[in-house]
């Protein structure tokens, strides 16, 4: 299933702050189901890559301790018109990607 990402950001003077809101439950695998006594199975985004014009700028690993529906803001060296792409993968193999012209 594709993971939904919403991106915002504008380049100003060679720097762009890119913000992203990702729709994901981020189940850590630690939280207990009180009825069955077993933990809910882990399902969280564990890798996030950001590229500027196809060149990797950020490579980030996450654990299940990142909040549900994660928010991420990063600063990139980018000029207006550059293409910023976020691609992510969760621990069950689901992926999502989104591009934005800053």
């Amino acid at each position: 299933m594709a993971i939904n990402i919403r991106m915002r950001g504008k380049a100003k003077g060679g720097v762009a702050e890119v913000k992203a809101l990702i729709k994901h439950e981020m189940e850590s695998g630690v939280r207990m189901n009180k009825k069955t006594g077993k933990p809910y199975p882990a399902k969280f985004i564990n890798n996030v890559k950001v590229t500027v014009n196809g060149v990797e700028a950020v490579n980030s690993d996450w654990s299940g301790a990142v909040s549900a529906n994660p928010y991420m803001a990063i600063m990139l060296n980018a000029n207006s018109g550059d293409e910023v792409k976020i691609s992510l993968t969760d621990n069950t193999g689901d992926t999502g990607e989104e591009t934005l012209k800053v």
Partner: protein, 155 residues
């Protein structure tokens, strides 16, 4: 071209899935990129050793760590690490000292990124948020206590 890489991808994942089913590979070997050892570490020092090969980080005033003094809801604690005033920032890691697995996330930066990260993390109780910045091959850290009134881990 696209179709070819798509086919290749499905075949590769298919083969990996078969291997997992046959018990040849444990899930952790499949996710070799993801540092399972660091994220499973129970202490901040163990986590740092796994990620950076060292737990010796010097406190630095150049790291601006922004986190609330009191978080009403520990499940969404906003944390911002701003190390843009430092040069040669290669990586930032965020840890929550008393979480069962303290390491929350690691960010590695290429040339087109600046040393800045803002995110939201889960915190189970009142504890310190620790930001680790690797700049010029050295580790620096900043710490701040966050009082949590409602835990973020199903409490």
């Amino acid at each position: 071209m696209k179709r070819r890489s798509f086919l290749k991808g499905t075949l590769a994942t298919g083969a990996a899935a078969v291997a997992v089913n046959a018990g040849l590979l444990t899930p952790s070997t499949v996710l070799a990129d993801w540092n399972a050892k660091a994220f499973a570490a129970k202490t901040t020092d163990d986590a740092l050793n796994s990620v950076y090969g060292s737990a010796a980080a010097a406190a630095s005033g150049d790291i601006k760590l922004k986190a609330p003094a009191i978080a009403e809801n520990g499940a969404v604690t906003p944390v911002t690490v701003d190390a843009t005033s430092m040069s040669g920032v290669e990586s930032i890691a965020i840890m929550a000292s008393k979480n069962p697995m303290p390491l929350v996330c690691t960010y590695n930066f290429g040339a087109a990124a600046q040393g800045y990260v803002s995110t939201r993390i889960k915190m189970g109780e009142t504890m310190n948020v620790i930001a680790i910045v690797k700049a010029g091959g050295k580790l620096f850290k900043a710490e701040q206590e966050v009082k949590v009134t409602i835990g973020g881990c199903g409490g």
